[in-house]
């Protein structure tokens, strides 16, 4: 990605937050005049960046705006690939749709789309996913894994694990995963994941993973039809979380898991997934090809399928309507 002077300035300042950098040094690094540096700094200040300026020492960045933007997201993104190319929009219909468009235009692996507000957020089968509210983390990213399409579904479980790790790093909550990848707290939905793929029989063109997480929502910010079924990090903890930090930390967690998954496969993570499994060990009722069955949820298979057991016979579910609540 070619960075603008502004982006490079933010990068230089953020890499040197522990110290002061002189205007002359910035001017040399960027290859622009000191006046131009000063002008850029003024613009950043208007955008909510805070500097400390000390004569003979130079500038030091001490804080940056809470708002999510391409700059603020990029700043502090501690990943190798994921989110290293990104776009941010105040409002979109669906980050998932933009991601598909970019993927078809050959956007690279890790390309990220973030928004403050989605008008047509969607879940499975185009079901509406409420995400207009500006207190959530709404984003999609593109992957191009060199694995057989058959293995791709495990990445939906990996994504859930990345969310669980991120939530546990930031809170003392005990989030659970409703197979395959909804994240719940005390039985209420905190986050949803939608994964879409374009593939041939033996080759993946691209995958788009979409994540929606309720971060700073207050109880009255959910509509009546869902308010008893959903929750947010704010509701559960009473604390406010910086959205861009959550997204950055999630991406860092996901990237580490993704790289390990590509090397070692899913088996390494099966146990971690099961540790957070919602209703593990309990009796589940489910529908498969319009017939109703039931059995004990004993775990997941190494390919990610949900395993239920009834009278010593195991059934492996890849796609079924499960009666969870």
């Amino acid at each position: 990605m070619v960075l603008s002077n502004r982006e490079r300035l933010i990068q230089l300042l953020s890499q040197n937050m522990h110290t002061y950098v002189s205007g002359q040094w910035l001017s040399n690094e960027l290859g622009i005049s000191r006046t131009a540096v000063w002008k850029q700094m003024k613009h950043l200040e208007e955008d909510g960046y805070h500097f400390k300026a000390v004569p003979n020492k130079g500038y030091r960045l001490i804080d940056m705006p809470d708002k999510v933007s391409e700059n603020t997201l990029f700043w502090g993104m501690d990943t190798r690939v994921l989110g290293q190319t990104l776009e941010y929009h105040e409002q979109v219909e669906s980050t998932q749709d933009i991601a598909h468009m970019r993927a078809r235009e050959n956007a690279p692996e890790g390309y990220l789309i973030v928004t403050d507000s989605q008008l047509k957020g969607r879940g499975r089968l185009q079901r509406r996913f409420q995400s207009e509210n500006k207190n959530g983390g709404w984003f999609s990213f593109i992957l191009r894994p060199d694995i057989p399409p058959l293995h791709a579904q495990k990445l939906t479980l990996i994504t859930a694990i990345a969310l669980i790790r991120t939530i546990k790093q930031k809170t003392t909550l005990q989030p659970q995963i409703k197979w395959p990848n909804d994240v719940l707290i005390n039985g209420r939905k905190l986050a949803g994941i939608l994964t879409e793929m374009q593939a041939e029989q033996d080759r993946i063109h691209y995958m788009v993973i979409g994540v929606g997480i309720n971060i700073n929502h207050r109880p009255d910010e959910f509509s009546d039809d869902i308010k008893d079924k959903v929750t947010s990090l704010l509701i559960e903890t009473g604390d406010h979380f910086k959205r861009r930090h959550f997204i950055q930390d999630f991406l860092k967690n996901f990237e580490a898991l993704y790289e390990a998954f590509l090397k070692e496969g899913f088996l390494t993570f099966k146990e971690e997934w099961e540790q957070s499994a919602f209703r593990l060990g309990e009796e589940l009722t489910y529908k498969k090809n319009k017939q109703t069955f039931s059995g004990t949820f004993i775990g997941i298979h190494e390919d990610g399928a949900l395993v239920v057991e009834k009278d010593g016979i195991k059934d492996y579910l890849y796609s079924a309507e499960i009666d969870w609540f």
Binding site: N181, M197, Q198, G304, S319
Partner: protein, 158 residues
């Protein structure tokens, strides 16, 4: 009275099923479909024994149905390419229950035309045609749980 497409659908459904014989009675007509099972044959190539046995009063219909039957009996599968499922999952012919189907029988398609999606573990796999041609038959039912390698579409390639 059964239309040609209804008959085709019935025959297809029978082909895909484990049922060997099907008898139907509707508005005074009787229809009997019977499969001759040969295990080595692909499902779409099962020969069909077709017997229309309408009530005596419906003579004109009988003639018509026998003609159709003859047609169906002698016809080879009209497609030369079968798109198979790359994974176990739920087969969807439309993006949502409200939307239009991706394709219909008779549609001319290109390599990049999306024909269906298959969902497993909330991963939605959009399946493209990979060949240019025409959709001759849709071999699975919307919402059906399909197996790995199960035939989904019969395509006549260009």
């Amino acid at each position: 009275m059964f239309t040609i497409s209804e008959l085709k659908q019935l025959i297809e459904a029978l082909d895909q099923s484990t049922v060997n014989e099907l008898s139907l009675e509707q508005e005074g007509q009787k229809l009997k479909l019977k499969k001759q099972m040969t295990s080595s044959m692909a499902p779409s190539q099962h020969p069909l024994v077709y017997q229309a046995s309408p009530e005596p009063q419906s003579v004109p219909i009988q003639t018509q149905q026998e003609e159709e039957a003859t047609d169906l009996n002698i016809s080879e599968p009209a497609y030369d390419h079968v798109l198979k499922s790359p994974m176990v999952g739920t087969f969807y012919l439309q993006a949502s229950p409200e939307s239009e189907p991706y394709v219909r029988v008779g549609d001319v398609i290109g390599q990049n035309t999306t024909l269906c999606t298959i969902e497993a573990m909330k991963l939605f796999n959009e399946i493209e045609a990979e060949v240019d041609g025409e959709i001759v038959e849709i071999l699975a039912e919307n919402g059906e749980l399909v197996e790995y390698n199960q035939p989904l579409f019969g395509i006549k390639t260009k």
